[in-house]
Amino acid sequence: MVDNKQQWKAWLYLSPAIVLLLVFTVWPIFNTVRMSLLENYSGLKAAGGAVFEFGFGNFEKVVQYKRFKECLTNTVLLCVLTVPISTLLALLIAVTLNSIKPLQKLLQTIFFLPYVTNSIAIGMVFAAMFNIIGLRPDGINADTWGIINNVIQFFGGKPVNWINQGSQYWANMTVMVVYIVWNALPFKILVLLGGLQSINKQYYDAAKVDGTSRRRVFSRITVPLLSPMLAYVIITGFIGGFKEYTSIVGIFGETMGPPDAANRLNTMVGFIYDALSSNSQGRASAAALILFAIILAVTLFNNMVIKKHTHY
């Protein structure tokens, strides 16, 4: 414990951080709650001296919006699809990477590259890969396919309109899932690989002495011993998934959907941004708090499940 007489020193040293936190974290959180509870709150009107009544109108309105339901559906769907797929893939890749000796460092670096690449840039590359319209070599006709469709055609399949005018919702969603999973892999692989490398090799020797099959070693030893890392990866994956926004922008631009169906792929965060930009801070705050409540509930649920199955 710090000597009582010296305590003011501790406070003094902490004060810059405390001030910054109060101004940029604590106050905004508090203010969000305040704005969400003031009927039809708008920053512009407030600046003009308007007074707002207290009430839950913002929440009611937000929930009633058809677009809110679409955004929520998109967000939940993306989470539910991408988190399990990316976690599973990351686990497989990490285990494989961990079991090979030559080139391990090189491969590790390659797998980590997406993490250090700008996600908008990656989105643009993906958009190009999934594109249906491009220029032919003659530069006149504009109906060639992106590389994905080229591959599909090479194997005798029919090209799919992934992201362009007239594309279907499921096609858009597929592109988003592929992109988000790919983007999420490096971090997960890194965490899981770290976890794998910290598992005591003697467990594997012991399992070998007992004649354990590879599959059983994986399911009964590797996965349980990796469970703290898996839990971490899954929880952060869900939190990240509920905050999904930039990846949609990366592929579809700010229309948040194909040109003929703008906002079709909008997410919760997108909804909040839209409300903000239309000067409805009250509704934006309400939506933000709803998102917060959802993330909290999902995390608590995750924690509950994980506690049962995690060994620390």
Binding site: N200, D205, K208, V209, D210, G211, R220, P224
Partner: protein, 367 residues
């Protein structure tokens, strides 16, 4: 199950590519481990004892030589097909499984005709648990157990599939002193009850001597001596073995043989008739000293440590290789601490003479 090691050799390639020096961990080890005996592999760290154990287990492949279980050559056989139980130094209990699950784990791996029903497995698991007296702890996690209990669980897990050979890697090194005494008795009891041929590795000579039927003393990958603990203690083949066994350790002196007499310093302490003159190293066990007013070996008395039944007389002598000489004398002997010197006669069978260069034992008659 008799275990035969035939010219067993393990060479590790050099880690340092520049020097290219390879490490010979075990060098040409030949030994037949009799059926149903407890064998202690003993030596300082880096002597190759663990490597030997892991080669018997199959986790490491020998560079040369062969291993037989009974008449079966198991050298090429993989670990899981050898029918061994292995207890790791830090037990390697699966931390996420209960004691019961840990013990059941090897049984659940059995396939084909060896496959067992759930009830059979449980029965076997409880049988093994009862043998090591942990059947009360079956639902605990390893982290909720003491070191000694974890050790027992590890032994139960190794025993549950009824191995042909049980291997223990430094089984007592992670236990505190009191538990160590208890557990080594326990290991002895379990081994006797099951009659499984057991090999264990230790760097603690006391531990090895106290429970082994036979000990193998190793140094730098080379076997120094094999035999019953008492025989090895009473009859070491070289200075290393003599120094390695026994607490307090043997007292070593620089000596000389001149004219059929063994000299330590200026004093002729023993008769060695018919031995040619040469410089030698003399080892005298602490219990090989007898106080005598007209004793042949004179030492400078420094201290007397009371041990109860015995006293340990601490003294010095210019010819001693060690800074002090420790001799164990019956406490009935009264020692006058005011005197500056103390004189000893030596018991001939506790005095070993070694070649000063090779440190090999000179088997000569000492009188």
């Amino acid at each position: 199950m008799k275990v035969t090691l035939q010219n067993l050799t393990k060479i590790f390639p050099s880690r340092d590519k520049k020097s290219g020096k390879e490490v010979v961990a075990v060098n040409d080890f030949t030994f037949e481990i009799p059926d149903g005996k407890l064998i202690g592999l003993l030596g300082p760290s880096g002597c190759g004892k663990s490597t030997t154990l892991y080669m018997i287990s199959g986790l490491q492949k020998p560079t040369a030589g062969r291993i037989f279980f009974g008449d079966d050559d198991v050298t090429e056989l993989s670990t899981e097909n050898r029918g061994i139980g292995l207890v790791f130094q830090n037990y390697a209990l699966y931390p996420h499984m209960s004691v019961k699950q840990n013990i059941l784990f090897p049984l659940q791996n059995l396939k084909g005709k060896d496959k067992m029903t759930k009830n059979e497995m449980l029965e076997r698991a409880y049988e093994a648990a009862r043998l090591v007296q942990i059947d009360e702890l079956m639902d605990r996690k390893p982290s909720e157990l003491s070191g000694g209990q974890q050790q027992r669980v590890a032994i139960a897990r190794a025993l549950v599939k009824m191995p042909r050979v049980l291997l223990l890697d430094e089984p007592l090194s992670n236990l505190d002193a009191r538990l160590r005494l208890q557990t080594r008795e326990e290991i002895r009891r379990i081994q006797k009850e099951t009659g499984i041929t057991t090999v264990f590795v230790t760097h603690d000579q006391e531990e090895a001597m106290s429970i082994s039927d036979m000990i193998v003393v190793m140094k730098l990958g080379v076997v120094q001596q094999i035999g019953k603990p008492q025989e090895v203690y009473d009859n070491p083949t070289n200075l290393f073995v003599a120094k390695f066994l026994g607490t307090p350790p043997i007292n070593v002196f620089n000596g000389n043989i001149t004219g059929g007499k063994l000299y330590i310093g200026e004093e002729a302490v023993m008769d060695v008739p018919g031995v040619e003159d040469q410089a030698v190293t003399v080892g005298i066990r602490p219990e090989g000293f007898e106080l005598a007013d007209d004793g042949k070996l004179t030492c400078n008395l420094s201290n007397v440590e009371v041990m109860g039944r015995d006293v340990s007389v601490v003294s010095t002598n210019d010819a001693s290789v060690n800074p002090v000489i420790r001799s164990i004398i019956n406490a009935d002997n009264k020692i006058d601490l005011s005197q500056t010197t103390v004189r000893f006669n030596l018991k001939p069978h506790k005095v070993f003479i070694f070649n000063a260069e090779t440190e090999e034992r000179l088997y000569v008659e000492v009188k």
